[in-house]
């Protein structure tokens, strides 16, 4: 129904191997598409190159082959798609207030100053941190800092939002609450999300579709659609069934690869 937001076509990435002239292949022939307004996850074991894939899509690492295209939302400039990024750790500028951290990305993306106040208020409220504008990040808990990072990413009204295991550094209870709140935020902000995780349960709970990645060689071996209605409950039996099937499939592929 929607138009395409991200196209990755036969992407290859190599890194120089330490102590040898040869390069080893991190990503081999990766192709994927993300539809506008969809929540798409990439699931794979640690070290399979998921983060590298996100970095290439974000444009901070170059590809050795293939192409990444980001299609801006209707009415936006094609030349400079806006990319929001939520990292594993919050990566906030601790010497700036919560508000100034958001101003930093707004200034970087040339959002007119007149809109800053409204963007800050709206997005802090969305992540449940209304009133924390003047506080410093180090006075906030880890979960709250990650909420600021999410507000920062949403504040630029991104064409695509990349999330790299954003809840993996949080304790299980906080992470569960954050996932739940993220669903709620998405109902309102409706961004296009490419989400990387090694946690299948998390991916099944959050995603519209999932790309499954294996390592050695790093490639995508399956795309699954999770067509369960929203809002979802984490203890829903249907979600659990889906997860079980996918885990089984995962292990069969990983074992077949040795």
């Amino acid at each position: 129904m929607g138009s395409t937001a991200i196209t990755v076509d036969k992407l290859t990435k190599r890194f120089p191997a330490p102590g040898s002239a040869e390069k080893f292949t991190v990503l081999h022939d990766i192709s994927l598409t993300v539809e506008e307004g969809q929540f798409v996850s990439i699931v794979g074991p640690s070290g399979c190159g998921k983060s590298t894939l996100l970095n290439v899509i974000a444009g901070i690492e170059s590809a050795d082959g293939g192409a990444v295209t980001i299609h801006p939302r209707a009415g936006r400039s094609v030349a400079a798609p806006r990319i929001g990024y939520v990292f594993q750790s919050p990566r906030l500028l601790n010497w700036l207030t919560v508000e100034s951290n958001i101003h930093f990305v707004l200034e970087a993306q040339n959002v007119p100053r007149a809109r800053w106040r409204e963007r800050v208020t709206k997005n802090l409220e969305m992540v449940g941190l209304a009133g924390q504008e003047r506080n410093y990040p180090l006075n906030l808990s880890g979960g709250m800092q990650q909420r600021v990072a999410i507000a920062r990413a949403l504040a630029i009204e991104p064409d695509i939002l990349l999330m790299d295991e954003p809840f993996s550094h949080l304790d299980a209870i906080t992470a569960r609450k954050m996932r739940f709140d993220l669903m709620d935020i998405l109902q309102r902000a409706k961004p296009t999300i490419l989400f990387v995780t090694h946690d299948l349960a998390e991916a099944v709970f959050l995603s519209d579709s999932i790309y499954m990645m294996s390592t050695k060689p790093a490639r995508i071996f399956k795309r699954v659609t999770i067509d369960l209605p929203r809002p979802r409950k984490p203890d829903d039996a249907a979600l659990f069934d889906r997860e079980k099937t996918l885990v089984r499939e995962f292990f069969s592929v990983v074992e077949a690869n040795g």
Binding site: A58, G59, I60, A80, I83, Y85, F87, S89, R91, L93, N94, W95, L96, F104, V105, E107, A108, Q109, Y136, L138, N139, I156
Partner: protein, 262 residues
Amino acid sequence: MAKTGRRTFWASLSRALPALLTFAACIAGWQIISLFYLPIFFPGPAVLVERMVAVYGDPASYVVIGETLARIFEGFAASMVIGTALGLLMGLRRSIEIFFDSWIMVLLTFPAVCWAFLTVLWFGLSQAAAIVTIVLIVFPFVAMNIWAGTKAIEKDLVEMGRVYKAGRRLMLRNVLIPQLLPYIFSSLRIALSLSWKIALVAEAFGASSGVGQKLVNWFQETRVDMMLAWGVSFMVIMVLIDLVVFRAWARRAFAWRPRLAA
């Protein structure tokens, strides 16, 4: 309210008592030893205070001090600007780092006295000689320190800035400089203390005015008491600058850090 105020006063006094006692003992010991020598060779604290009153009671002294202070601050400011710029460039550009790596060491190890002589030969007995001497000696320390600071910059934050397409100035202002601030503050203090020491040496060698030249005059008359009277005051000025300007500034700049102690 007044009662608790008095109690904290006595409490802080009793805490400071050992320090005060040792200080008093030192002054007393100094005074006693000085009684065995001529005041112009080894002046006691009483004589020193007397001489300082003589020096600082004379308005002409402030012209001399003003000249030296002007040289110190010009040399200090130039060293900070050049040193910080070079340190940053070395930290952020690999090619510049490779080029200056050994030159910084050469400059750091070059004897200060050589610079003092050389600048007199090159610039004559002038204002410039003292300032250039300060800059040549101080800026490598600053550059070295800032360069070390760039090694401690968190790559993760730089990457964050790049993902959001922050421009160079925005990155410098909000990502790089704040992380270098501890190094900038330590550079300020090193540079100021070095600048004032070198200013006096440079003046002693090559200036026809300033505190350094006064020291030389009194040295030629073997008047230790007068040399100390001139020197001590400068120590006071520099410590005051450090306490009032740098520390207060640092306290404000690091307000974002949660306090360690409750």
